[in-house]
């Protein structure tokens, strides 16, 4: 009621308890910040339409839907890797620890390192359990531990202490992988020794806290150190160049023998290429919009899709856009369906390349150099396709950029199919300089000649036949 409203607006919160670096229990924080705590807890809510029934024996009442069932081309692409066995839609933060503990990817025969916890648990609590005196050392220990052991030390999913300084409530970065990653990235922009906890603006932090997890990553060496591949920049191309330069691959694709990469949720990197990022619109603006709570506005800690319902669209999009909720929904649907249609075509191209290489290996009569070239193209095509389907906005975070990745997938996959047949096509850098047009003789007229005679020397040869002595085409994806 109004009397209460008027009171609320003058006193936003009471300092009920003193919070410290060992206030691991979010309920403690909730005494000072009930609105944020309550909405944070609501990440356990899940619309019935998104729920799936867990297999027999699973302790969960419901889980998220399978992405493998929705598009089994994922299964083909991931042959030789744990993802081919189980991969689901993401859901609320409340489930991150549980869903990780129960996924088949951490069960035998698969083995995972403690590193996995970086993004699925309240890490300060884990490090404290390992060694309260030496967080850096504890982190190294956690990374190398078998997952099954490490996860026993974890008690909560991401919680207040992971994102906030208990003394000032300021946002802060708690993950070493991000500190290193953003330092490397800022260096490419000419900014040396960037430290997000000292140098970042408040607005940057509103994306950085999310970018500790919603990013592409790999585990480096035997130490299983979590690393973000940002040394060359944040694009998909930059990441591929980085992995190529260090000779890294996640697994050997078992159908083709290609050494391939796994791309995971590059939400932050993709957002960074879009127009929202360019205009300083952050993850928190859309996924944690300000919500009227009586007379004050608080950040909605029920992190979720801004399209969840009309009220959510109103809170997030309509802060900046003067359109109706229905119009904003329509915009998102148009972008996502354009992406979906195009990325399905590129997925076919990748799938067909994989089957082709498998068939060529089975046939046994194909030039091994051609196979090697095709595998090299598969590496690119597969990383890019994985990149775009693992990104969680289905094209929305950067619509044009996402489509440029899709276009590259098709080109790489189809070039791979041609390479497998001995055909290497050039890439035109500057058409005005390094390209000569092919012209028909005689000179063209409006009425085209009935039997055109191609003039230039026909390259490449159609259907080259394999002979082990033939010069090997160079593999240069």
């Amino acid at each position: 009621n109004i009397a209460q409203r008027k009171a609320e607006s003058t006193q936003p919160f009471f300092q009920v308890v003193q919070l410290t670096e060992t206030s691991f229990d979010p309920a403690e924080w909730g005494k000072n910040f009930p609105a944020q705590y309550e909405s944070w807890a609501k990440t356990a809510e899940m619309p019935a339409s998104e729920q799936a029934t867990p297999p027999a024996g699973d302790p969960r009442a419901f889980m998220a839907k399978s992405k493998l069932a929705a598009d089994p081309r994922l299964v083909t692409m991931w042959q030789g890797y744990a993802f081919a066995v189980e991969y689901n839609e993401p859901r609320g933060h409340a489930y991150m620890l549980l869903d990780q503990q129960l996924v088949k990817r951490v069960q035998p025969p698969f083995k995972q390192p403690g590193s996995c916890l970086n993004c699925h648990a309240s890490v300060p609590e884990v490090l404290n359990a390992i060694d309260p005196k030496d967080p850096a050392g504890a982190w190294a220990t956690m990374n190398k531990m078998p997952y099954a052991d490490a996860t026993k030390l974890a008690k909560h999913p991401v919680t207040c202490i992971d994102c906030h300084d208990p003394a000032t409530m300021k946002l802060r970065i708690t993950r070493p992988a991000f500190v290193e990653g953003i330092k490397a990235y800022k260096a490419t922009q000419g900014i040396a020794n960037f430290d997000p906890n000292k140098d970042a603006t408040n607005n940057e932090m509103r994306a950085f806290v999310c970018a500790q997890c919603h990013v592409e990553y790999y585990f480096k060496g035997d130490a299983k150190t979590l690393v973000f591949p940002w040394k060359n920049g944040l694009t998909a191309n930059n990441a591929l160049d980085y992995y190529d330069s260090i000779g890294f691959s996640d697994f050997t694709q078992s159908l083709t023998g290609a050494k391939v990469l796994k791309a995971q949720h590059p939400d932050y990197e993709t957002w960074a290429q879009g127009i929202h990022a360019k205009n300083g619109v952050t993850c928190a603006d859309c996924h944690m919009p300000y919500t009227r709570q009586g007379a004050v506005k608080v950040s909605d800690h029920q992190v979720r899709s801004p399209m969840a319902d009309e009220a959510q669209i109103n809170k997030s999009c309509l802060t900046c856009h003067h359109q109706t909720e229905a119009e904003m929904k329509g915009r998102v649907e148009t972008i996502q369906s354009t992406w979906k249609e195009s990325s399905s075509k590129s997925f076919d191209a990748l799938d067909q390349l994989i089957r082709d290489i498998a068939a060529a290996k089975a046939a046994g009569n194909v030039n091994p150099d051609w196979i090697a070239a095709a595998q090299q193209w598969q590496r690119k095509a597969q990383f890019f396709q994985d990149y775009t389907v693992s990104e969680n906005s289905r094209g929305f975070h950067a619509p044009q950029y996402a489509l440029s990745i899709v276009a590259d997938v098709t080109d790489a996959a189809r070039r791979g199919q041609l390479a497998l047949r001995g055909i290497t096509e050039p890439v035109t850098k500057d058409p005005a300089k390094d390209y000569t047009p092919m012209k028909a003789t005689p000179a063209p007229t409006t009425a085209a000649p009935a039997t055109p005679a191609p003039a230039a020397t026909p390259t490449p040869i159609v259907n080259p036949v394999y002979s082990p002595a033939a010069p090997a085409p160079t593999a240069t994806p």
Binding site: R5, Y290, R292, K297, N314, L318
Partner: protein
């Protein structure tokens, strides 16, 4: 039976009028009839617009000059609009049943559009000219929807 329904009906009207009276009075609904932008600001719901207005290009133009029919030339429309808006604002404010980002209703938007011409009629006389007989043809807000108070 019929009498019973009438009784309920009468009761409902009474309760409604009572709530109206309370909310309208308590929530300062009468402020709506004033011309001073500060009266709009009495509701925190209007803070965002007020703050942006105070920094904007139209800070010399009162809220009402855009959001109400011109008082002197259209006294009846003015009164009706004030009563309508005053009532709804008070009710929504009291019940809290309004979204985080409030949206202008269509008829109020139409009203704002017409008010632009009260001040800028001359400036836009040429561009309005091809459609001189239908004011609604050029929608100022398509390009200038942030003049009153940027979001």
């Amino acid at each position: 039976m019929r009498g019973f329904l009438v009784l309920i009906g009468a009761g409902l009207v009474g309760v409604t009028v009572g709530i109206m009276g309370f909310t309208f009075g308590y929530a300062n609904g009468f402020a709506y009839f004033a011309d001073d932008p500060a009266t709009c600001k009495q509701c925190h719901s209007m803070n965002k617009q007020y703050d942006a207005w105070a920094k904007g290009s139209h800070k010399t133009v009162a809220c009402q000059e855009c959001h109400s029919p011109e008082k002197h030339s259209q006294p009846v429309q003015w009164l009706l609009s004030e009563a309508d808006n005053g009532f709804w604002h008070s009710l929504k404010f009291t019940t809290g049943a309004y979204p985080t980002n409030i949206k202008i209703r269509d008829h109020n938007k139409e009203l704002v559009r017409e008010n632009c011409l009260n001040c800028h009629g001359n400036l836009v006389s040429q561009i309005e000219q091809p459609s001189l007989h239908s004011n609604a043809q050029i929608d100022c807000l398509r390009c200038h929807n942030e003049v009153g108070h940027k979001r």
